[in-house]
Amino acid sequence: MAVADSHDTAHDDHHDHGEFIAHHFDSAEQQFDSGKLGIWIFLVTEVLFFSGLFVAYTLWRNHHPEVFEQAHVFLNKYLGGMNTIVLLFSSLTMALAVRSAQLGKNKQCSLYLLITMVCASMFLGVKAVEYSHKWDMGIFVRSAFDFHAGHHAAEPGTLAASLGVSPYLIKLSFIPAILLVGCIVASVIGKMTEKPLLSKFLVGMAVTVGGYFLGVVVGQVFVAATEGGSHASVVSPTEPLMLHAMTSEDGDHQAGDGEEHDHAEGEKHDHADGEIHETHHNEHHDDAHAMDHGPDPSKFDRDIGTFFSIYYCMTGLHAIHIIGGIIALAWLYWRSLAAHWRPDYFGPVDFVGLYWHLVDLIWIYLFPLLYLIE
């Protein structure tokens, strides 16, 4: 199986060109080295691309360390840690896929690539649980930040309510669900029209998308296990906010924990956009009240919203890279099934592998920077 492909002789006018050695290269080695330099250049641009967000992070943390201390309670470090391990495992299987391709073991390579893709999808599934959990509490980017202790209960009768999950999770899972059904249907059609390679590829893609749903289930179980299942965890995040609001020369607000927060929310709403009132906030506030009591406690909400702007940008851009990686891996998976790799031609697997490890590297830094703040 090592040299599964017949050597293509169509181009073989001057050199011993293999099937996939482009004509403008003297040798397989020259082609490989060019590709390698190319992917390193791309990775440099990727590092610089992400560095802008790291600058935003550094500046914000430097100027407002207290915001980061307040914000960390919203992030589940055990869920993040588990996701880190999933990503590290996918990096291992990627390295093993590269090794298989180097040895010309196409079948083994396709299996390792499939595991890599499933882990990548699983990572996204866990992320979807994490995001939807936050959105339930109104934790959005700065401009839409609307924290409220306690979940928005799913409306009775909806799919979300019957499954006991967040309505946002249902919306996020819509595309993977379509992809899953599409892959299965297309695979069956491929089987019936006697396209074994296509059919096999689509089964692999269906398994990959299935990884997303595995991630969702694991994420839900993990959230329930580490946050006690009850809504106790949802209440605790308000405490640092309270603390900060109270210590900033404001005596009157000390009574009534939950109310204090609602109050702050109400004010924020009023300042921002009169249209988006929630009625239960209105009864607690008036604008003159905000003037009487020194610093506006709602500004702490605002600053935590900025933390989450940075959080969503960084993890979101990373997630987009994961999706891009899955697409590149799918291409490799197809070529592995077609048995294209040989000891002198494995460049694409190596190059996508480098990209995949870079995505992993970025997560290695994002994880302690975002999740492990104390």
Partner: protein, 117 residues
């Protein structure tokens, strides 16, 4: 299927399996370590450098072994790490400048206050 290294061209260096598994176990160990350290409640002045040190150790393992840097051409590696130089310039120079306009910012009303009647 036997591994026939004799067939391999010079640019093909399959990493030993034991090495890859060993690196993975080390990475998992470091991940668990960094989570445990974060729960110890160390002061931020210590906890942050420790977390970054562990992350850099993990990054080294991934670069050196998973990304095959140890077997790669020196030029490629130099090229890649030049990006780190530019990132540190980017962060460093921005940090030195960042407090420069704080007075102007403080003098400027917050968006919320402007919107208030």
């Amino acid at each position: 299927m036997a591994e026939h290294h004799a067939d391999h061209p010079s640019f093909n260096h399959p990493a030993p399996l034991k090495l890859l598994y060993g690196v993975f176990i080390a990475l998992i160990g470091l991940t668990i370590l960094t989570v445990v350290v974060s729960t110890l409640g160390l002061p931020p002045a210590i906890a942050f450098p420790v977390a970054m040190l562990i992350a850099t150790a993990k990054a080294f393992l991934v670069c050196a072994f998973f990304m095959h840097m140890l077997w790669d051409k020196g030029f490629n590696i130099l090229f890649f790490f030049s990006s780190v130089l530019f990132v540190s310039l980017f962060i460093g120079l921005t940090l030195t400048d960042t407090s420069e306009y704080q007075n102007t910012i403080d003098a400027f009303p917050r968006a919320e206050d402007v919107a208030a009647p």
